[in-house]
């Protein structure tokens, strides 16, 4: 068990190492001079030399990578090329705002999906189940920014103008104190992830409801509601742990287009701005952070699953 955890953690570290190499290669070592790419062809030779020195391009590739990784690990991420802010203070400001967005969405989406999925399993193949499944099938296919646009036109700008269409939250401010501004982006993300999670929960609940011990509980004469609440629900939650991890991971990508759409001051919109301005230090830092979230969330979810399902401990050994 301990060995398995160690092995799993080591693999995660290995993946993180690969991620850092890929980010480094993508932003600094591709053919073409990043300094020219950033400053354009009108830059003077002095400006180019200055920027090359700032980016460390005058060193060998391996030296550059080692220096870069060392800086990342010690938290000195340098300065943004397009704004006076340091990269780490930008990451903290924007990261907290994105965390509020993702956190609020997950807190609403996960319980909602457990509820809807369980109800769907209990009312399997009735008209209400078919209707929700149909709607969800459409929602899973839609790109999240199209869902966002639909909500925006419906609630923000055109049909009913009840919610602010743009999330004007001061950068670094506490996003939770602006519930009205959070409403549209959170609703969009919830609609984007609930269908997938609901399907997982519905399938898991159907499996459990058909199992022997639930039949046994029914034969004992327990009312169906008690059977579901006391016996079925807890056992159906295991896939949802993995599903929730996937949801969080999905949201780390989903925030990019949604924050841009609602002008929400988070990591996603910061990434879009940085890519447009070729602000390489900011791009590197944000991408590294988002990819690390994936690795960490996956690790935690695997550990949780093994803790929840004891028989996996021996099987994976």
């Amino acid at each position: 068990m301990v060995l398995w955890i160690l092995r799993r953690a080591l693999l995660s570290l290995l993946v993180l190492f690969g991620v850092s190499v890929l980010i480094f290669l993508a932003t600094q070592a591709l053919p073409g001079d990043p300094a020219v790419q950033i400053l354009g062809h009108t830059a003077t030779p002095e400006q180019l030399t200055e920027l090359r020195k700032q980016l460390g391009l005058d060193q060998s590739l391996v030296d550059q990578y080692v220096t870069w990784l060392g800086n990342v690990l010690t938290g000195s991420l340098g300065n943004s090329l397009t704004s006076p802010q340091s990269v780490s203070s930008l990451l903290i400001d924007r990261g907290l705002a994105s965390l509020a967005l993702v956190g609020a969405s997950a807190l609403i989406a996960i319980p909602l999906a457990v509820l809807l999925g369980s109800l769907g399993a209990m009312r399997r193949d009735r008209p209400s189940d078919h209707a929700t499944q149909g709607i969800f099938l459409v929602l899973t296919a839609l790109p999240e920014f199209v869902i966002g646009l639909g909500l925006l036109i419906l609630l923000g700008t055109t049909v009913f103008t009840v919610l602010p269409p743009v999330a004007l939250i001061p950068s670094g401010g506490a996003a939770f104190t602006h519930p009205r501004e959070l409403a549209l982006p959170v609703m969009t993300l919830v609609l984007a992830v609930v269908p997938y999670l609901t399907r997982l929960q519905r399938a898991a609940m159907i499996d459990v409801l058909e199992s022997d011990y639930v039949q046994m509980a029914r034969l004992k004469g327990l009312p169906e509601r008690t059977v579901v609440r006391r016996h079925a629900l807890r056992n159906s939650l295991v896939p949802v742990v993995q599903g929730s991890a996937l949801t969080l991971i999905y949201l780390t990508g989903g925030i990019v287009a949604i924050e841009y759409l609602f002008a929400y001051p988070g990591l996603g919109s910061a990434l879009t701005t940085a890519v447009a301005g070729r602000d390489l230090p900011v791009v590197q830092a944000i991408v590294l952070l988002l990819a690390s979230v994936y690795v960490v969330v996956n690790l935690v979810a695997d550990l949780l699953t093994v803790l929840l399902v004891p028989r996996l401990r021996t099987r994976r050994g």
């Binding site: 690969g18 790109p143 646009l149 036109i153 055109t158 519905r202 287009a257 841009y260 890519v275």
Partner: protein, 297 residues
């Protein structure tokens, strides 16, 4: 052996008939028929649209942000272009980019998966750990990472989207393949001395083709979403070209005045993605005979 021969042989009569039957059975689902009709509509709009567009999509011919009228059925956009003409022109890029990205991604993924499962041990480990690294990036972030230095080039975006799908496809294919290579008929093929390549293409690949059809449909749906999102962010095809995702970006500031320049392309993207998803779902159901529960993006 030439590739044409290999394809002819792998599509032997039995496997071919089985695949055809799966496709025909999937057509029994109402949702698949709806999907096929919708997909046909979108493809028709994208391909025929430019021929029937009433105006030049790049010509400023009216006042900016005017309401729908007889002359401009969907009004005009932020610069005074005809919205209908731009919608009719704007499907081509997302259509070819999504189809090529999905095709390339599934082909590469299948190749990696087959190789990993059949080669086994070290090559398998190396390949799949490499896949884990790509998987760690949210797909849109992966694409933006490379676009940040290399700039918004359409061919590059297609390749990046394809590479972003490789890990998931490779996992599916590897799972099925490592199951198959332990079966007796693969062993006996090895015993009678068939080459690895022949075993892979003749004995293993036919088992993978049906799941790959579902995979292709899902990757196509998500390629549409991803490519539309990238052009919505302004990193896809550049103005003054007409493109559905780009139109949404360009007209964001006049949304309160005129929803049509945004609503029309958004509906097109949505219908395209829904259509391919309905078809993929139906084929999946026809194969499994039950719901395909939850696919990983």
């Amino acid at each position: 052996m030439s590739t044409a021969e290999v394809i002819a042989e792998t599509r032997g009569p039995v496997a071919g008939r089985r695949r055809l039957r799966t496709l025909r059975r999937s057509l029994r689902y109402g949702r698949v028929r709806v999907g096929v009709v919708l997909l046909g509509l979108v493809v028709l709009v994208a391909l025929i649209g430019p021929l029937v567009a009433p105006h030049d999509p790049d010509a400023v011919i009216g006042l900016p942000a005017s309401a729908p009228s007889g002359q401009f059925p969907l009004g005009t956009d932020y610069l005074g272009h005809d919205v209908l003409s731009r919608v009719l022109w704007g499907g081509r890029s997302v259509l070819w980019m999504a189809f090529s990205a999905a095709t390339l991604g599934v082909a590469l993924g299948a190749a990696v998966g087959l190789l990993a499962a059949y080669a086994g041990s070290i090559a398998d480990d190396l390949l799949m750990r490499g896949m884990d690294v790509i998987l760690a990036f949210p797909q849109i972030v992966f694409v933006l990472l490379f676009v940040s230095l290399l700039g918004p080039k359409l061919g590059l975006i297609v390749v990046l989207v394809a590479v972003a799908w490789v890990p998931q496809v490779a996992r599916v294919v590897r799972g099925i393949t490592s199951d198959v290579v332990q079966r007796e008929y693969v062993e006996s093929a090895e015993l009678i001395g068939l080459s690895r390549w022949r075993i892979l293409t003749r004995e293993v690949l036919p088992n993978v083709t049906t799941p790959l059809m579902v995979e292709y449909g899902l990757r196509l749906t998500w390629s549409i979403a991803l490519i539309a999102a990238i052009s919505f962010l302004g990193f896809g095809i550049q103005p003054p070209n007409a493109d559905w995702g780009l139109m949404i970006n360009e007209n964001r500031n006049i949304l309160t005045l005129q929803p049509w320049p945004i609503l029309a392309p958004a509906v097109c993207i949505g219908v395209f993605a829904i259509a391919t998803n309905l078809i993929a779902e139906g084929i999946g159901r026809a194969i499994a005979g039950v719901d395909r529960e939850g696919a990983v993006r």
